[in-house]
């Protein structure tokens, strides 16, 4: 089940030209984006130019590269040379990067067709796109609900048939949560496998770029293209193995860990869907191993301290001097910087900068930041131990289904807590995928998360692929008519 491969087949057999295919997607955007708000910028001209190039190559009998001719979207925190990149913040409105992010360079080399930049929470801080200056992104499955966040625009672009795949970023669940809310596959790869060069930083030790797709196979194909060592990213290590060729491996005898703490307090419909998914695996000969992880309750505060601390440092660069928003009137340089930052950053971003600065300030550093780093080490060690008794871990992706509009803005702590299932993989740098596994009573998608050991992205993808096959893809978003 690969929409990517199906479309390339249509292109190669000349049943449709790449220009026609691109125009269909641009039409879909034209029709739907006003309501859904997946895109904050549509790059029709660039898209059609690339499509023409692809058609010329097809006419010349050239073989298509793995992502060639595929209409796709990029989250607005991924630098695109000459194309405005704002992180959906007033701070970066009018900012045109002078270089390409490595992932975009790779996609460009493959002649992937960029349709536009997608909506996100401001600087990726949020879980519903409601902190974006461009406003909320709605869920194509039900427009009373949000698409999630922070890569909500990326997910909605795929779920609304406005892109074949979207590239997002995940710091605490920002790829997996919107994928789960929209009924899609979302992969956060092992930390260090996909280059972060050109990804505008939120929390560098947690951020990772990955794909949101309509099927596991597509996610594997994209991962294989994007994962490579990049000397421009000092934390890059590249991938140790490819994943697409391992999707056929049998999962009989595989051990899946179930950690009870992940299932505490989850929504009833989510629980039912996951129990059903577990049965599907058991019927296929997978062994479920029940495990405990008492340290899990420290994960959220540890994450929050580290993420805010890194954000306060990373966002220190926005001073109005070299790029980005700059205030009009000021009497000295200190006032210029402070006014610029006050006007440029939204409330949530300012709150996280203040909290991070607090956790790093003298007098608080040992109690918060240093302690959090110590506990982070223990969490990583606990996971290593867990992977001695199982191959992968199965959890809900999110304890609930898509929020209603406005719901995520009411109580920040309650919403932060909804990231409990996705955050551990960022803390420990582990690969994790969200796969659709059911629907709630309102027909909103439910996601299942599979977490693997470091560099075993192929194992989680294969387990996800087998699930999709065993359930005949019945939880995937409906195929687009082309």
């Amino acid at each position: 089940m690969s929409k990517l491969r199906d479309l390339q087949r249509l292109l190669e057999t000349k049943e449709i030209s790449c220009v026609e295919l691109t125009e269909k997607y641009l039409d879909n955007i034209e029709r739907q984006n006003k309501t859904i708000n997946a895109y904050v910028r549509v790059t029709a001209e660039e898209a059609l130019e690339t499509a023409k190039k692809v058609d010329e190559r097809i006419a010349a009998g050239e073989k298509l590269m793995p992502l060639e001719g595929i209409p796709m979207s990029l989250k607005d925190n991924i630098s695109t040379k000459g194309i405005e990149t704002t992180c959906c913040s007033k701070m970066l409105q009018g900012y045109y990067p002078i270089y390409d992010a490595t992932v975009w360079q790779t996609l460009k080399k493959q002649n992937a067709v960029l349709l536009g930049k997608t909506n996100m929470d401001e600087f990726a801080m949020g879980s519903s796109c409601e902190t974006s200056i461009y406003g909320v992104t709605l869920n194509p499955n039900n427009t009373d609900h949000v698409a999630g966040g922070s890569s909500g625009g990326a997910a909605a672009s795929v779920a609304g048939n406005m892109a074949v795949f979207g590239i997002g970023s995940d710091t605490g669940g920002s790829i997996r949560q919107p994928a789960s809310f929209c009924g899609l596959v979302g992969l956060k790869p092992t930390y260090g496998t996909v280059s972060r060069y050109g990804l505008i930083a939120y929390a560098s030790s947690l951020d990772q770029i990955g794909p949101i797709t309509g099927s596991v196979e597509d996610a594997a194909i994209i991962y294989d293209c994007l994962s490579a060592y990049d000397p421009k990213d000092s934390t890059s290590v590249g991938s140790k193995t490819t994943t697409h060729d391992k999707l056929k491996d049998s999962i009989k005898g595989m051990k899946i860990g179930i950690i009870d703490e992940f299932f505490d307090g989850i929504n009833k419909d989510v629980k039912t869907s996951l129990e059903e998914a577990i049965r599907v695996y058991e019927d296929a000969g997978v062994q479920m191993v029940h495990l405990k992880m008492p340290g899990l309750n420290a994960v959220l505060p540890v994450y929050f301290i580290i993420a805010c601390a890194e954000a306060s440092s990373n966002l220190g660069r926005y001073d109005g001097i070299r790029y980005g928003h700059k205030t009009d009137t000021y009497k000295d340089i200190d006032e210029m910087i402070r006014k610029t930052r006050n006007e440029g950053f939204g409330k949530e971003v300012q709150r996280r900068i203040l909290l991070g600065t607090y956790a790093l300030s003298s007098g608080q550093y040992d109690a918060y930041y240093k302690k959090a780093q110590n506990l982070r080490y223990s969490i990583i060690r606990d996971f290593k131990k867990i992977f001695e008794s199982c191959d992968i871990i199965l959890t809900p992706s999110v304890p609930v289904t898509a929020y209603k509009k406005g719901e995520a803005l009411i109580d920040p702590i309650e919403i932060y807590m909804m990231d409990i299932c996705t955050i551990p993989a960022n803390i420990a740098g582990l690969p994790a995928v969200s796969v659709p596994c059911g629907f709630d009573k309102n027909k909103l998608p439910v996601g299942m998360q599979l977490i693997g050991n470091n560099f075993e992205d192929y194992k989680v993808l294969n387990a996800a692929y087998q699930f999709e096959k065993l359930t005949k893809g019945s939880y995937l978003s409906p195929e687009v008519e082309i």
Partner: protein, 95 residues
């Protein structure tokens, strides 16, 4: 509970202003989140090791080579008012 003075001090280091009308709400929000983060104080350390980086990378040095860099005028494009290849800033030292 974080105090008004602490918020003002933190805002100063973070290069932000806090408006008077937003102060009470901010104190409330920050206190709530800090109380929540305080949960880690109750968790005892069971190791002397602090986290350093995920993949145990010791150093990441590039080859000592001269590579092409960005053009000055390209870099200045994102800021109006640059002069002679420099960014323009207000005088920050009194002479």
């Amino acid at each position: 509970m974080i105090t008004r003075e602490e918020v003002l001090h933190i805002a100063k280091i973070a290069k932000l202003y806090v408006k008077d009308e937003e102060m009470d709400q901010l104190i409330q929000d920050m206190s709530k989140i800090i109380d929540y983060a305080d949960a880690i104080k109750a968790v005892s350390r069971d190791s002397d090791v602090d986290f350093d980086n995920i993949n145990n990378i010791a150093n990441a040095f590039n080859e000592d080579l001269v590579l092409p860099s960005y053009q000055r005028d390209e870099i200045l494009k994102n800021r109006e008012g640059g002069e002679n290849g420099y960014f323009l800033v207000r005088k920050s030292l009194r002479g």
